[in-house]
C-alpha cells in the first residue's frame, strides 16, 4: 500500500543523552522481530506488529556498525567500531525449555577498529574492517573435527590483479581506489651473487598520476605491453588514454568517443602486440576493441558463450600470437575464443572450484589454470585437451604442503626463453614451476631452496624437484617477468596501508 505501518523511535525515552542516535544496520527476522544496531552501542530486538522493544543488549560503548543474521535465524553477528565482533545466539532460557532468548555468546577481536561489514555463513562468521582485513572465523561447534577447515583466516589483499606491467616499456601501473599511478622501473648495469643488492644507475621514475573523476572506485585497470595505452573502468564508465613519451616528458590524451559497451568492465587485457583491448563484461561477454593510431578505437566484436551465461567474466588471458583469448566467468566456466575467425573455439572441462588465475603459454599455446583448491591444470588449446604433463600431475598429485596453502595463486606468467618454466605467485611466495623436473612426493621437502644452497653441486641434482619456491618477498602483491633474467616484484607493506587508514577510535584506558 506504500503506507507506513509502524514507526519505531529507537532513542525514545532515552533522556540525558542529547546525541542523535543512528541506526547503522537492521534485519527483519521471519518471526516478525526487527533487529537494529545503533550508534549507542546497542543491539535491540523489536516487535514488528506492536513496535515495542523486546530486548536490548548494550554490547559496546561505541557504535554497532554492522549486523548479519544466519540463515536459520538462530544466530546474529554484529560488528562494532572498536573492532570487536559479537555473536548473539537464540538459546533456551533453561535446558530443555521452550522459551528462547537472545544471548550474547562469543566476543571476537580480530580488527583494530570499525568493523563495517559482517556476514554469517553456516559454519563461520565473516567480518571486514576498516583496518583492511577480511577475517573468516569458523564456528567451532559447527566443525566436525579439529583440522585445517577450522582455522581462522585473515585476508589482507583482494584476490585480484591491482598492478599491471608493460614488459617492453618496463613500466608498472598501480591501481588505487580513486587513482592510477604509472612508474618507470629503475635499472642497474652491475651483476652480483645471490642475495646482493645492486647499485642503481637509474632511479625509478613516477611518470604520471591519473585521478578518476567522481565518487566511484576504480574496478580494474591495465597498461599495454608497449606502455602507450592505459585503460581503466569504474562501475559505470570506461576510460582509455593514449600516453606518449617525448624525450623526458610524458603526455597523456584521453581517447574520445569510446564505444558504448555493456558495462561494467570486470577485467581489462591488452593483446601482446598492443593492437587490441579485451574487455570482460557481464553475461559472459568479452568485447574486443581495436586500438587505432594516433589515439582512437573501435568495437570489433563481442564474444559470448554459445550456451549463454548469467555470470560476468572476471578473468582474461590472451595468447602471444594473437590467436586466442580465454575468459573465465563467475560460473567457473572457461571459454576459449578464436580471434582470427571471431568464433567460439572450445570450453575447458568444468572443475568444481573457482579459477584464481590463468595464462596462455607464448610458445606452446597451452592454457595454464590455477584453481582455488591449489590444483594446477595445463590445457592444450589447439588440441582441445589436457596436456600429458597435466595428466601426470593429476595422477601423481601435488605436494601436501602445496595443497594446504590458503592464499590463492593470483598471477601466472611464463619465461619465453625457457618454455618449461611456469612462474606463479600468491601473497606469501613466488614459485618457478619447472616442468622438466620431477614432482616432489610428500616425503620430500617442498621448500628446499635453502637446503639446496647448502649442498654441493653434485648432491643437488638428486634433491631437485619442480617447485622452486622463494618466500623472500612478503606480502607479495604482484610479480612478473620483464625479460629472460629480470623479474619485477611488488611488495605492499601492511604498515603502509595502516598509516593511510582512518584513525582508530580514541579510548581512554587509564587515568581520568
Amino acid at each position: 500500500s506504500g503506507q507506513t505501518v509502524q514507526r519505531i523511535m529507537v532513542n525514545y525515552h532515552v533522556q540525558k543523552v542529547k546525541r542523535e542516535c543512528i541506526v547503522w544496520s537492521i534485519a527483519f527476522l521471519s518471526s516478525g522481530t526487527v533487529v537494529t544496531s545503533d550508534s549507542f552501542g546497542r543491539v535491540q530486538f523489536w516487535d514488528w506488529e506492536r513496535g515495542t522493544l523486546l530486548e536490548s543488549h548494550t554490547v559496546s560503548t561505541s557504535a554497532v556498525l554492522s549486523l548479519a543474521v544466519s540463515e536459520k535465524e538462530d544466530s546474529i553477528i554484529v560488528g562494532t567500531s572498536t573492532g570487536a565482533t559479537y555473536q548473539f545466539q537464540l538459546l533456551p532460557v533453561k535446558m530443555g525449555s521452550l522459551e528462547k532468548r537472545w544471548v550474547r555468546t562469543k566476543p571476537f577481536q580480530h580488527h583494530t577498529h570499525d568493523v563495517r561489514a559482517v556476514a554469517h555463513s553456516s559454519t563461520a562468521l565473516i567480518s571486514g574492517g576498516l583496518d583492511a582485513q577480511l577475517v573468516i572465523r569458523p564456528l567451532m561447534e559447527k566443525m566436525q573435527k579439529k583440522g585445517y577447515e577450522a582455522a581462522l583466516r585473515k585476508f589482507t589483499f583482494p584476490h585480484r590483479r591491482l598492478v599491471s606491467c608493460a614488459r617492453k616499456a618496463r613500466l608498472l601501473l598501480f591501481q588505487f581506489s580513486q587513482h592510477l599511478e604509472l612508474w618507470r622501473l629503475g635499472s642497474t648495469d652491475e651483476t652480483g651473487k645471490d642475495g646482493e643488492v645492486l647499485p642503481l644507475c637509474r632511479m625509478p621514475e613516477h611518470l604520471l598520476q591519473l585521478k578518476s573523476k567522481g565518487p566511484e572506485h576504480i574496478y580494474c585497470s591495465c597498461v599495454s605491453p608497449c606502455g602507450s595505452w592505459v585503460a581503466y573502468s569504474t562501475a559505470s564508465r570506461f576510460h582509455l588514454y593514449r600516453v606518449q613519451y617525448e624525450g623526458g616528458g610524458v603526455s597523456i590524451k584521453k581517447v574520445p568517443k569510446v564505444p558504448k559497451l555493456l558495462l561494467p568492465a570486470y577485467q581489462l587485457q591488452f593483446s601482446s602486440d598492443s593492437g587490441s583491448l579485451f574487455v570482460a563484461s557481464a553475461r559472459g561477454s568479452v568485447h574486443v576493441l581495436q586500438l587505432l593510431e594516433p589515439g582512437g578505437c573501435k568495437h570489433l566484436h563481442t564474444f559470448r558463450p554459445p550456451s549463454g551465461s548469467p555470470e560476468a567474466v572476471y578473468l582474461l588471458a590472451s595468447s602471444a600470437d594473437g590467436h586466442w583469448v580465454a575468459a573465465v566467468s563467475g560460473d567457473w566456466a572457461i571459454h576459449v575464443y578464436n580471434l582470427k575467425g571471431f568464433k567460439h573455439h572450445c570450453m575447458v572441462p568444468m572443475y568444481s572450484c573457482a579459477v584464481t588465475a590463468l595464462a596462455i603459454h607464448p610458445v606452446t599455446n597451452n592454457l595454464v589454470i590455477a584453481y582455488s583448491d591449489q590444483q594446477l591444470f595445463e590445457f592444450g588449446i589447439p588440441e582441445k585437451q589436457y596436456t600429458a604433463w597435466s595428466r601426470m600431475v593429476q595422477n601423481c598429485g601435488l605436494h601436501k604442503v602445496w595443497l594446504e596453502r590458503d592464499s590463492p595463486i593470483t598471477h601466472i606468467t611464463f619465461n619465453p626463453k625457457n618454455p618449461s618454466h611456469i612462474l606463479l605467485h600468491d601473497i606469501y611466495m613466488f614459485c618457478v614451476l619447472d616442468k622438466s623436473l620431477p614432482l616432489p612426493d610428500n616425503s620430500a621437502l617442498l621448500m628446499n631452496q635453502s637446503t639446496l644452497k647448502q649442498l654441493p653441486e653434485t648432491a643437488r641434482q638428486r634433491q631437485l624437484h619442480a617447485f622452486k619456491i622463494c618466500k623472500k618477498f612478503q606480502p607479495l602483491l604482484f610479480a612478473d617477468l620483464l625479460d629472460e633474467n629480470c623479474l619485477v616484484m611488488v611488495e605492499r607493506p601492511i604498515m603502509d596501508i595502516k598509516t593511510q587508514l582512518p584513525l582508530p577510535i580514541q579510548q581512554k584506558k587509564f587515568g581520568t
Binding site: 585445517y148 581462522l152 594446504e404
Partner: protein
C-alpha cells in the same frame, strides 16, 4: 520501561467495577476479566468493545483468577471454591461450595506441580490465619492453621514450590519475614494442623527499619521487599530493597522519591512496580550468595562454597543418645508392625518442635523403611535454622546405623541427595564413608572426597585403593561425575590422523628445520608413552577426586606403603599421563571443571615414589615407566633451561627486526636452483 505505549485499552460500562485482576490465558491468547464480582468477560486482542464480548454470569463471587502456563486458568471463589475455567464455562450457574464459612481470603497463589495445578490461599478470621492447599486433580484440600504470633500479624504472603515442598513466606507487621514449610505430599488424615514458622529475616539495618508492604522471592537466598525505610527521627523514604536471607544483609536499596502504590511484581528477572505515575521495570541479577559477596569482597566466584561450621553445643546430647543406642539396637528387632504403626502415629501427633531430634530418631529406629525415610525427609524440611547442620548429621547417623544393622538396606539415592545438597563434613558423619566403601558406592565416595574438607588420610587411602582395584567393566555401569576428565581424556582414540596443526598460508617455516632437528625430536617422541590414558574415564574421575582431597604427607605415607605394587604402578602411570597432558599446554593446566592441578599431580607422584621406592626399582614392568618418566622430566627441565637461555637472544632479535628499514626500491640478485 523505555518504550511505553498502550497496545490495547478496554473499559467496562459506567457503573460497573472490575473486581479482580485481569489475566491472560496463554494457551488461547484470551483475556479474562471479572466485573461486579460475578460477571466473567473473555475477549481477544482484536475485540474493541468490551460490551460485545463473551459474557458469563456466575453463581458466586470470584476472588481471583490464576493463569497457569499449562493447564489453563483457575478460578478461586470468595467462599474458597475452586474451578478450572473450562469446567466453569460448561455450566456457569453451577453451585459453588463454601469451604471457608466466614473466613476472608487474604492472598492466593497457583502453581503447576507435576502437571497438576496446585492452589494455595490464606484466610483470616478473628486474628487467626489459615492456609489452604488444594490439588485440583486429586481433589484434595488441606487446611492448616498458622502459628500465632503475639502482637503482630501477617501483612503479605508469597510462596514457591520446590522438591514437593511449598515454602510460604510471610511478611509480618513486626517487620520480619517468616518461613513456613508445607509438605505437598500429605498423607495424614483431614486434621487441622498447625504450621510452625521460623524467622527468615529481620527487615532492619543499622537502626532503620523497613516497613514492608509487599515482597517477592528472587532465589533461594534473596528476597525483594518494597516498603518504606524509616530511621528514627527522620522522614521515611519509600524504597525497593533486595535482602540476602543467608547472611541477613541488605544487598541493595533503591529509593523511590515519587512514591509507589506498595505493590511489587516480578517476572523473568524483572521487577514491575509503580513509581509516581509510571510503571517502572527494573532488571535484576542475583549472584550466588557467598559471605565474601555479602560483605562486598567477592574476588573469585569460582571458589566452591565453604562448608559451614557445626555448632557443637546444639549437637550435644541427641547424637550421643543415638550412637549409644545403636550399639544395643539388635535386641529390638522382633517388634510387630502394628505396634510400630501406633508408635509412629504417636510421634506425628506431637508437635515436632517439642520433640527433640534425638528422641524422634530414637523412636523411628525400627520403623519400616518407607516410613523411616519419609519421616526423615519431613524432619529435614521442618528443621529449625540454627542447629540444622547438627540435625542433618543426626539424620545421616541414623541412616547409617540402620544400614549397619540391616545389611540389605542401603538408601543410595537418599544419601547422595543429602551429601550433594547439604554442607557436610567427615566429622559430622564419620561412618558414612566407611559404609559407602563397604558398599562400593563410588559415586557417593567421589562426592564425599570433593565436598568433605576433613577426611582422614586412612580413609583417603582406602578410597584410592578401592578405586584402583575396581574393574573398568564395573565402573562403566556406574554413574560417576565425569566433569573433571571429560575435557582432556579422548573417549575415542581413533582420530589420530586429523591434522591438528594449523599453518598460516599453508607453509610452516619450522618445517625446514625439521630435517636438522630429527635427532632431538625423536628423543622426545620416544618419551611420550603417556599419550594414552591408562585408565578409563570413570576411574580417572574417581582418582581425580582423590588427588583433590586434602591430606598431610606424614599421615598419608604409612598408608600409601600398603598399596599393592600393581596398583601403585597403575596409579603412577595415570599420574604420568596427567603430567604429560599438563605439559602440553603453555600454562600447564588441564581444561575442564576441577581438574587436578600440576602441583597436586607432582606431589602425589613424589609421594607415591617415596612410598614404593624399592618396589618400583625391583618391579620389571615399572622399569620402562620409570625410565620414560625420568626422560620426560629431564626433557622438561632441559626445555625450560633452554627457554631461559634463548630468551635473551630472542629479545635481541626482536629489537633487530624493528630496526630493519622498509626499503622502497631495490634491485637484488635472486638465485633459484
Amino acid at each position: 520501561v523505555s518504550d511505553q505505549k498502550p497496545l490495547g485499552c478496554w473499559s467496562v460500562k459506567h457503573g460497573q467495577i472490575i473486581t479482580c485482576p485481569v489475566v491472560c490465558n496463554f494457551e488461547t491468547h484470551e483475556y479474562i476479566a471479572v466485573h461486579d464480582d460475578k460477571v466473567l468477560r473473555i475477549w481477544k486482542n482484536k475485540d474493541i468493545n468490551l460490551d460485545k464480548v463473551f459474557k458469563a454470569t456466575l453463581s458466586a463471587d470470584v476472588y481471583r483468577i490464576h493463569s497457569l502456563s499449562n493447564g489453563g486458568p483457575v478460578v478461586l471463589f470468595k467462599g474458597g471454591g475452586i474451578r478450572t475455567l473450562d469446567v466453569l464455562l460448561e455450566a456457569p450457574q453451577q453451585e459453588i461450595e463454601n469451604i471457608i464459612s466466614d473466613e476472608v481470603i487474604k492472598w492466593s497463589e497457583a502453581f503447576t506441580e507435576g502437571q497438576q495445578p496446585v492452589l494455595i490461599f490464606a484466610t483470616e478470621k478473628d486474628g487467626d490465619f489459615f492456609v489452604y492447599v488444594q490439588k485440583l486433580k486429586m481433589n484434595s484440600l488441606h487446611k492448616y492453621k498458622l502459628e500465632q504470633q503475639e502482637l503482630s500479624k501477617p501483612l503479605s504472603f508469597t510462596a514457591y514450590i520446590k522438591n514437593q515442598m511449598i515454602t510460604l513466606l510471610c511478611l509480618y507487621s513486626n517487620d520480619a519475614v517468616y518461613k513456613v514449610l508445607i509438605p505437598l505430599q500429605q498423607n495424614t488424615e483431614e486434621e487441622e494442623q498447625i504450621l510452625s514458622k521460623s524467622l527468615l529475616l529481620n527487615l532492619s539495618v543499622s537502626g532503620s527499619v523497613l516497613k514492608g508492604t509487599s515482597f517477592v522471592v528472587l532465589d533461594k537466598d534473596h528476597i525483594a521487599v518494597l516498603g518504606s525505610l524509616a530511621a528514627s527521627g527522620e522522614e521515611s523514604k519509600e524504597c525497593l530493597t533486595i535482602w540476602n536471607t543467608k547472611f541477613q544483609t541488605l544487598q541493595i536499596s533503591k529509593e523511590l522519591p515519587l512514591g509507589t502504590s506498595g505493590q511489587l511484581w516480578c517476572y523473568e528477572e524483572k521487577f514491575f512496580f509503580t513509581h509516581g505515575k509510571v510503571l517502572t521495570v527494573i532488571m535484576y541479577k542475583c549472584e550466588t550468595s557467598s559471605l565474601a559477596a555479602a560483605v562486598g569482597k567477592l574476588k573469585d566466584s569460582q571458589t566452591p562454597d565453604v562448608s559451614s561450621f557445626v555448632n557443637w553445643n546444639t549437637l550435644g546430647d541427641e547424637e550421643l543418645v543415638v550412637s549409644f543406642q545403636s550399639q544395643q539396637s539388635v535386641a529390638l528387632k522382633s517388634e510387630s508392625k502394628m505396634t510400630l504403626r501406633s508408635k509412629r502415629n504417636a510421634v506425628a501427633k506431637v508437635q515436632p518442635d517439642t520433640v527433640s531430634v534425638g528422641q524422634l530418631l530414637l523412636n523411628l529406629k525400627d520403623a519400616p523403611t518407607t516410613v523411616f525415610e519419609d519421616e526423615l525427609r519431613q524432619l529435614m524440611s521442618k528443621a529449625q535454622m540454627p542447629d540444622f547442620q547438627a540435625t542433618i548429621g543426626c539424620v545421616i547417623t541414623a541412616l547409617i546405623n540402620r544400614c549397619k544393622t540391616n545389611p540389605k538396606y542401603y538408601p543410595r539415592n537418599f544419601l547422595l541427595q543429602i551429601v550433594q545438597t547439604r554442607d557436610l563434613s567427615y566429622s559430622l558423619c564419620p561412618d558414612l564413608m566407611a559404609v559407602a566403601l563397604e558398599k562400593k558406592d563410588v559415586h557417593l565416595l567421589q562426592i564425599c572426597l570433593q565436598r568433605f574438607p576433613d577426611i582422614p588420610e586412612e580413609i583417603t587411602y582406602t578410597c584410592l585403593k578401592v578405586f584402583l582395584s575396581i574393574s573398568e567393566a564395573y565402573l562403566q555401569r556406574v554413574d560417576v561425575n565425569l566433569e573433571s576428565v571429560i575435557c582432556y581424556i579422548d573417549i575415542e582414540f581413533n582420530n589420530k590422523e586429523v591434522k591438528t596443526e594449523i599453518v598460516e598460508n599453508g607453509f610452516n617455516a619450522e618445517r625446514e628445520q625439521d630435517i636438522w632437528d630429527t635427532k632431538i625430536t625423536k628423543e622426545t617422541h620416544l618419551a611420550t608413552d603417556g599419550e594414552f590414558c591408562p585408565v578409563g574415564p570413570q576411574k580417572a574421575a574417581l582418582l581425580n577426586a582423590v588427588l583433590h582431597s586434602a591430606y598431610s604427607e606424614t599421615f598419608l605415607l604409612p598408608h600409601l606403603k600398603n598399596l599393592p605394587a600393581q596398583q601403585a604402578v597403575l596409579f603412577l602411570r595415570y599420574l604420568y599421563y596427567l603430567y604429560v597432558k599438563c605439559s602440553e599446554k603453555i600454562n600447564t593446566t588441564l581444561p575442564g571443571i576441577r581438574p587436578p592441578t600440576i602441583n597436586q599431580i607432582m606431589d602425589w607422584m613424589c609421594l607415591l615414589l617415596d612410598a614404593h621406592f624399592t618396589v618400583m626399582v625391583m618391579l620389571p614392568e615399572a622399569k620402562q615407566l620409570l625410565s620414560n618418566l625420568h626422560k620426560f622430566v629431564r626433557a622438561q627441565v632441559r626445555f625450560y633451561s633452554e627457554l631461559n637461555k634463548i630468551e635473551g637472544s630472542l629479545r635481541e632479535l626482536q629489537r633487530l627486526n624493528h630496526q630493519k628499514d622498509p626499503h622502497t626500491y631495490s634491485i637484488e640478485v635472486l638465485e633459484l636452483i
